[in-house]
Symmetry: C2
Subunit: 431 residues, 2 copies
Amino acid sequence: MKNISKYPEKNTWLTLLERPVLEKKDLRNTVGEIFLKVKNEGDSALKEFSEKFDQVQIDQFLVSENEIESAIDEVSEDLKTAIKQAKENICKFHLTQKSEKKEIETTEGVVCWRESRAIENVGLYIPGGTAPLFSTVLMLAVPAQIAGCKELILCTPPQKDGSINPAILFTAQLCAVTKIFKVGGAQAIAALTLGTESIPKVDKIFGPGNQYVTQAKQLAMEYNVAIDLPAGPSEVLVIADETANPEFCAADLLSQAEHGIDSQVIFISTDEVIFNETLKEIEKQVAELSRNEIAKVAIENSQFILMNSISEAIEMSNSYAPEHLILSIENPRNYIADITNAGSIFLGNYTPESAGDYASGTNHTLPTNGFARNYSGVSLDSFVKKITIQEISKTGIQNIGKTIEIMAAAEGLTAHKNAVSLRLKSLKNEI
Amino acid sequence: MKNISKYPEKNTWLTLLERPVLEKKDLRNTVGEIFLKVKNEGDSALKEFSEKFDQVQIDQFLVSENEIESAIDEVSEDLKTAIKQAKENICKFHLTQKSEKKEIETTEGVVCWRESRAIENVGLYIPGGTAPLFSTVLMLAVPAQIAGCKELILCTPPQKDGSINPAILFTAQLCAVTKIFKVGGAQAIAALTLGTESIPKVDKIFGPGNQYVTQAKQLAMEYNVAIDLPAGPSEVLVIADETANPEFCAADLLSQAEHGIDSQVIFISTDEVIFNETLKEIEKQVAELSRNEIAKVAIENSQFILMNSISEAIEMSNSYAPEHLILSIENPRNYIADITNAGSIFLGNYTPESAGDYASGTNHTLPTNGFARNYSGVSLDSFVKKITIQEISKTGIQNIGKTIEIMAAAEGLTAHKNAVSLRLKSLKNEI
């Protein structure tokens, strides 16, 4: 924990909070070749890649009903109850994101509104590795189901024995995922982009993944498939005043740090006692974590900053644009209006980031790497398109017709003008 | 007009409505070099590119107050009034897109909601060329202003004499654009992405452009700048029954056709008389258009399809996912629910596409090239991020704490669990 700054000058902030430049290995060619092979050879390419990258032989990519049934039996009742409570809260929160139809008559006889339609086919990618991210299944499949997406296609890499973690399968069936495929990595993204004999092509791909998956999602966009968000390592910024609890602050910082050695962890306090005690608490707590090797590295790279005021701390946070922002301060609601850039905000001492990661109801797929400046996290909006609709009456076109004619003529588009002129003429003849 | 199909079999639809594959010239290297030069040399690179590509020498990129004042004098009163009416309608419609804060208590003591924040710095690109697209200035700057974006930076290529079309300048000042720069092409996008001595770096870039601009916007994303929409040629699909007016249908098809030789124009009718008369009307009207050479080519490539029923026509339209969909049919509102993929829908005989292009209030920046399957058009949403916020009370964390602990443990994330356990423990001690 070497990165301690006390009352830094404003002109040093940018450097202080500079994110490590992600070493963008040029995986474009590697991933491009995977796409090409999946395009040409379909399932057989997927088989080859599974053997090569995951060291597992898969004959049937589609997870069978039987496999799902056994998985349901394997998951403990406690975990099932927990997943169900989380699902219910995620469902409640995302239901508030439905938008009502609002018709407006912009000019007499000119009525406009928007309607939402589900994106029909969505691909949900759930990475493998050490942690079975069934919580991400909830975060993607629940809003997809509320939106009314027709096909929810989930891809996740098989374990060495060819199976999928039961909690992932349980959660997927609970959220009405249509089909689950045992395939991971860039080849899974290629399959969702291009379609194979087994795996259907989708319209939009969601979910986290390693650098190959990230590159593959970028390539998917060149094939006209949309993606959820650009990727980056996870981040938390905690602002604490004298009312904060150092034990809780340390725990929140560490729960970010355990994600990966590239996790970004920033602590800003206006109170030197809280500041020092939090530093001590981290030392104490980190030893007991199962992923303490990872957390230690992330903490070494983290920033601990003492500042003069909450408003200054928020100004600094806005310039950093954190994925998660925890306000462990008195009356945190008073400061919300000042926050311009953040993925998700956690208010007060009893709102840990892990609540949002799992069960409060908010979505944990959030903009990282400074993308909180220009992107929202995943929400119901991510699974729908909004279509604009307009209906103009005879009166309406008489009211705005001249305006359109003048503007179209000034832009040199006579056919655009003519489409209105002919209608106005026919109405004159009617009278 | 060779592409006439009568009652095509469903298995031929996909081929029939296949879009021409856009010849993606590999401009990545060319545009990449422009970015590099702008990054290293700033304004002096922009000067060089303006001389090279636009054959104009620019000493000051920023449009001066004087230039804006003279432009305002040059625009006719008629055009000013028209632009103002259009602005008012666009403003009214986009104001309906503001989302109200909806707090929800997902579990007792767990409160979640979303708040919108403007994307602070936005870049608006307005292409040069034959048509001065001041209407696009309205479509981008009005929602940016409503969203509360701080900096609205407009870039547009200068004319040969170094000036900007007065209607563009008039509209920009009317919509409170912060700064206008005389620079176009890939170098303008590079400047907005990277910043130069004159031009500030932005968070998101909006607006249409040629293939260099399109490629530059793609590259901008690799520099963490967001963009509005992927690009493609403009499209209209008209569905007409026996109540349609062939004169109007022809005019609507032609107003799409005049955009460019690659414009996609599709006409589907359930009535053979209307079908044939529309074909005749096109021949008649096309001759009189100022851009008839362009329109003729686009019409040659267009599709005219006779079908059995409106519901079949809508099914076909859904599979094509048109940017603009005109329903020149009886009781068009009855069919809206069946439409799953479209950018914007125009209902009835008095709602020409050009109304939406200019003055009804809807946005004309819409998804083309099949992107209506997975993207919405530009709206107020495009200029904001939505931040999720949560506040959990002591009761709240007691209600969902166990759920979080179980889920975090099952994902192997003990620090996530610990952040909750410590809080639950402290509450037990309180009692």
